[in-house]
Symmetry: C2
Subunit: 211 residues, 2 copies
DNA sequence: GATCAACTGTTTTTTATTTCACAATTTTTA
DNA sequence: TAAAAATTGTGAAATAAAAAACAGTTGATC
């Protein structure tokens, strides 16, 4: 199968956001200009765009408007996807607030917690239910995408509940490294902020050795 | 130079956290067991550990206690590193609250914002100053690591201020893709949560095609 | 309308990362 | 004490990703 790498998908997402900003200024953009905006190279940009089936014009570049809609057609779900988030502490709340209404095709429809002070309230305009209700709500709302930002120790159980309820994709912000069997065919994105911090600390002292 | 890849550093960070939990239960661990805990493979684990100069014992494995301190010696700064964070909105506050006091060698000493309601207060026990004061504070406190979680449009200017003030490593949570010249020799970690979301959405529909 | 310059799309090459495979080592067992 | 079993450390092979190279277009120029 002509499978597209995760790296390419990430870059396409970034290209689109950069192009949106550019759109105000001009009509066309060259691969080397987009590369600069996205911190990449012209060759890499052209290679990524190959997957879209959209072709630019030599000496003219890519029509920004068309390129954006082509990336959107490629990346975005055809219909609106419902998304849920489990664990609405500091991070969960930040994610909710930020993404609420931001991506038209991704709709944050519910969040879940076990904290009785949160259950029953609305957080950033999104209703918060008790974790117990999650499986039923996921099925009812046909949710395919789940975000976990609970405490670490609850991660595994939550992911199992999600998968059993039919979730197709999980984004895990906790430190717990989920291990999902291939046979489940669930996409997993592990975001390890702690590792990023330790990496930044490590390279703050070492990476300048390449001098 | 025997440079260690970013991927390896990330995994070492994860190994350490997993080992900390394991330590309560047992003394030794095999590469295949650690691999399972870290969602990796035995060969990958052994390869990563090669960099540490710590050797395990065939038929016995790695002494968890020693392995942890060896990873710490390798990853952690020798002395306490001061860290600052710029932009203390929802995300910045979550980061502050989470990391405050969590990593003994990384000390969050100050945060900066331009919101007058925040300047002059303490957030999660960390003093918040006006952005204007940043260069001076960074120099005074010998800060090497800076986190950006401001609004997107301020990112570039903030990074330039940081670099001019002597920061060695930047973690950028905003969507703006920073481009730091190689000659600056500043390590950059770009955390693009938006791309992660769009990736999760993309693969929720497509990745099961490998069936 | 021929020529030039500057781009694109794609093939090839290079580089980086992961996996494999196995000799060397150590413990266990007999 | 010798043989068997299991695990390590690492060179070599395989795979994945990025960069370079280049033929083919296209618009601009004369
Ligand atoms: N905040 C950060 O910067 C940061 C960085 C790295 C990792 N993380 C990880 O992200 C997760 C969330 O971080 P945070 O700062 O928001 O923590 P937090 O303590 O503020 O929030 C955790 C939330 O999860 C809820 N919760 C606990 N168990 C639950 C369960 N079984 N089901 C549903 N909800 C449950 C709690 O009630 C709370 O609301 C943590 O696991 C943390 O390790 C956070
Ligand atoms: N929250 C998320 O889940 C999320 C996800 C992806 C990306 N981001 C990015 O992270 C950044 C922060 O997100 P947030 O949700 O905390 O936003 P926020 O609006 O809650 O916080 C932004 C903070 O930055 C401050 N600020 C603005 N300009 C500044 C400047 N020049 N110097 C210092 N401080 C300044 C604001 O006063 C505010 O306190 C944004 O750029 C956003 O694009 C956030």
């Amino acid at each position: 199968m002509n499978t597209v790498s995760q790296r390419t998908i990430e870059r396409l997402s970034l290209y689109r956001r950069r192009l949106m900003v550019e759109l105000a200024d001009k009509d066309y953009i060259f691969s080397h200009q987009l590369a600069k905006l996205a911190n990449s190279t012209a060759a890499q940009v052209r290679r990524d765009l190959m997957h879209l089936g959209y072709t630019g014009v030599p000496r003219k570049g890519y029509k920004i408007k068309d390129l954006i809609s082509c990336i959107s057609k490629f990346l975005d779900p055809t219909h609106i996807e419902n998304v849920v988030i489990v664990g609405v502490g500091n991070l969960g709340k930040a994610l909710l607030t930020f993404f609420k209404g931001r991506r038209p095709k991704l709709s944050l429809v519910a969040c879940f917690d076990i904290d009785e002070n949160k259950v029953g309230t609305e957080i950033a305009g999104v209703p918060c239910y008790h974790l117990n209700e999650m499986p039923q709500r996921i099925k009812e709302l046909k949710v395919n995408i789940g975000i976990i930002s609970s405490t670490e120790n609850a991660t595994k159980a939550i992911s199992e509940m999600m998968i059993a309820a039919g979730i197709r994709s999980i984004i895990n912000f906790t430190c717990y490294p989920l291990n999902i069997a291939d046979s489940e065919n669930v996409f997993l994105e592990q975001i390890d902020i702690t590792a990023s911090f330790e990496k930044a600390a490590y390279f703050s002292k070492t990476h300048l050795k390449k001098l």
